[in-house]
Symmetry: C2
Subunit: 457 residues, 2 copies
């Protein structure tokens, strides 16, 4: 084949068995080392964490004019022959026959030089940081994880449901809602949708409509909180997968949740070894930590028991634990460390006062069928519940919470017509990825993070 007609090969698809084969590759220079007789270029095309070593023998003069442009960040196309290198550290390299510099990257101002940059520095160049080794690996891992989550549900006959981003209700009662406004063309502004509209905090209530028609469904996409939190674990826009299942009790729900997490952890170790190995450089013991997620069943503790143990712990918590109050981060970490020795821990059956209106009241009349899954370091990654399917209980609870019934008429009607027991949960993709990648700040596992004061590009 004439070199010009050669199709481009992805670096991830190359292998030493192609020894001697002519190839065309294209990507960005990670680094270039120019010595007297040979030039070595490490080329990354983003398809894998590995770079391809391109070797240029300086025997003929026509390479020389290229040398000033062979700089970190420049884009190049190379035609050459693959050479197996069984005795070298990498299995093969590319002996260049032709090299074209497509886009230069002036060394004087290209921000991503070969040295290690701080995460903070990289966060301010979100448009370029995906070209760094670690952020490239994080994005491939994120993409793989999103696919693995969907395959898990596809294999179990769940139907993917596209719950709306623009929403008229506040599923969590949290109050931290972004408002959505259409351009104001008239002096008297009318609501574009006929009523105030917000960015969704959860697809759950809509997923409930779908589960009460289609059986098992899930939504997977961005959700929003307008909280002014400047922490390493909060984002204004974050991804959640939210399965919702007709006929599932809280126990069924919990078993599905732990099966999901264990499955993803096991698959990550199997299919993402290269990315995890690379990330382990920043996070010692990463793979062992992930291995810990694969051991089923996870431990379960009742909220009331958890409070009892926290009180007995005789620790000077910043927030003293008390029945009827929510668990704080310091409590969660203590529980995970002491009740499950660092392994995942479910806390179930919380006081109804601290949980939203839609959770099913237990027979004790004071707790609801809620579950949270806690992990070491990242804290809560799953929150779920059995939903209140009994019309009279739901209406009582809404009345107690002084909710406006008219706005939730559609939700109430799910209980009025052919109601069924059902359950669901939300798993935070970003926090799970934080755990699986060993990164410390959730803003580093999202390509373009949105947080208070931060929407750089």
């Amino acid at each position: 084949m004439p070199p010009d007609k050669l199709p481009r090969s992805d670096v991830c698809s190359l292998s030493a068995v192609q020894d001697g084969q002519q190839l065309r590759v294209a990507g960005w220079i990670r680094s270039a080392r120019i010595s007297k007789n040979v030039i070595f270029v490490a080329l990354s095309d983003g398809s894998t964490a590995d770079t391809l070593q391109v070797v240029i023998v300086r025997n003929a003069g026509h390479w020389e004019e290229l040398i000033p442009d062979l700089l970190t960040g420049a884009s190049i196309e190379v035609i050459g022959a693959l050479v197996a290198t069984p005795s070298a550290s990498q299995p093969f390299e590319l002996a260049a026959q032709r090299l074209m510099v497509i886009g230069r990257a002036p060394a004087t101002d290209y921000p991503l030089q070969k040295k290690e940059h701080s995460w903070e520095f990289l966060r301010n160049i979100a448009h370029l940081r995906l070209r760094s080794t670690t952020h490239g690996a994080l994005m491939r891992l994120r993409s793989w994880l999103s696919g693995a989550i969907r395959h898990f549900f596809e294999q179990r006959n769940f139907i993917e449901i596209h719950t709306p981003i623009i929403s008229s209700h506040d599923a969590e009662g949290a109050g931290a809602l972004f408002e959505v406004r259409a351009p104001q063309r008239d002096a008297a502004h009318h609501h574009f949708f006929g009523a105030p509209a917000f960015l969704t905090v959860s697809g759950q209530l809509h997923a409930e409509c779908a589960a009460c028609a289609l059986g098992r469904v899930y939504s997977f996409g961005p959700t929003f909180r307008a909280e002014n939190s400047h922490t390493i674990r909060h984002l204004s826009e974050f991804w959640m997968v939210e399965p919702e299942m007709a006929w599932y009790t809280l126990d069924d729900n919990r078993r599905l949740a732990e099966e999901l997490v264990a499955n993803l952890a096991g698959q990550a170790l199997e299919h993402q070894a290269k990315e995890l190995h690379l990330l382990e450089r920043h996070s010692a013991g990463l793979c062992a930590k992930i291995e810990g997620l694969t051991k089923l069943p996870y431990r379960v503790i009742e909220y009331s028991e958890a409070i009892k143990q926290l009180k007995q712990a005789q620790i000077a918590f910043e927030y003293p634990p008390r029945w009827g109050l929510d668990l704080q981060s310091e409590h969660e970490q203590w529980l995970v460390a002491h009740c499950s020795k660092g392994a995942p821990l479910f806390v179930v059956n919380y006081p109804q006062e601290i949980k939203p209106f839609y959770m099913r009241l237990n027979d004790d009349g004071i707790t609801v069928a809620a579950m949270d899954l806690l992990l070491a370091e990242v804290g809560e990654i799953i929150g779920g519940s059995q939903r209140e399917e009994r019309l009279d209980y739901l209406l009582q609870r809404m009345q107690r919470d002084a909710m406006e019934q008219a706005a939730y008429q559609w939700y109430i009607e799910l209980r009025k017509y052919g109601t069924v027991p059902h359950s669901g949960f939300g798993l935070g993709l970003d926090r799970l990825l934080l755990y699986l990648s060993g990164m410390h700040n959730v803003r580093d596992v999202v390509p373009f993070p949105r947080a208070p004061g931060q929407a750089v590009c």
Copy 2:
């Protein structure tokens, strides 16, 4: 196994080879027919378009008290034996041994009775319409189609990239942006993100950052337009898949687009036969129409040639065709009918004046490397282009369009550092589904449509 411990079976998983097997199923009554000796209940659990016929023999008295509750919409659980029925219209039925009514649906007010309802009527009960046969089929088709799109890109080593919903720019220059506002706590309102924020109209510019680092990427999710359009083809919130590929020319881009559409159409015919067969009842010739998408290559016409042919057509178009103006819906439909005999048609190389700033200027200096894919009836389902990768051309164009450079510094830097030729397109999921389902209004192929005046639940 004791009946109480039987796991629930999905109706979609049942088959006549289970003849004689004891089963437990749960779902909603589609219809019930009560005769002197036998009761027939058509049960739907949402896992398939098929209902399961449950047969109750009225020989023993204990069924009688259930009869008043065996109404359309009620939820029930049934334990019984599967009976193969080779001579009947359905391959098997369930001989009930036990039946429990879980949630009633009073015939006096349950809105979804057995009779056919208008699409308009159903649109106003979005929370219940997913229980209808057609809307159930549409949601399963939508879920399958979304998965098929992702599998297409996964198989080709594309990386899924989660481009943000909250955005600071207007990729299309369309101006029809929803604004995002945080709750105003202070009299002096500060921008939550440090600058005005909007709902994204396209993930493209962010996907370009990712493609210029990772090679081939795609985003897939909701996008927004604040246009006050009350048509059967427009939504305020709609789903787009947006692939973006480094090193792709417009021709590469076009070939990927047609391969995607043909692949999805072919797979739909193969894997979604049951749903399509059902939908064909409302749309004669549906499968033949879909078959038409599988024939490659699609026809391609230059914009200039299209205008010439429209002028020669001697038709009294509402909007007279003229070089330099955008194609109207009436023009698109004429072109599809006459230039490709109803088959898909690409129109390429539009005047730069009517296309956004990021499209690559062709060598003629007056057109840009744009492409639109037109289908009969639904019109444009794909819009794409080769992106302007040359820094000087991009800056000139931005200046001409009086764009604020500072706000796009990050986008400009993609051209400043290691720029590469790249291309991409956006495929509208909802319009493709409209075509594949034979439905007429895009509000009927989205579970909870958002349109001016419509955000019902």
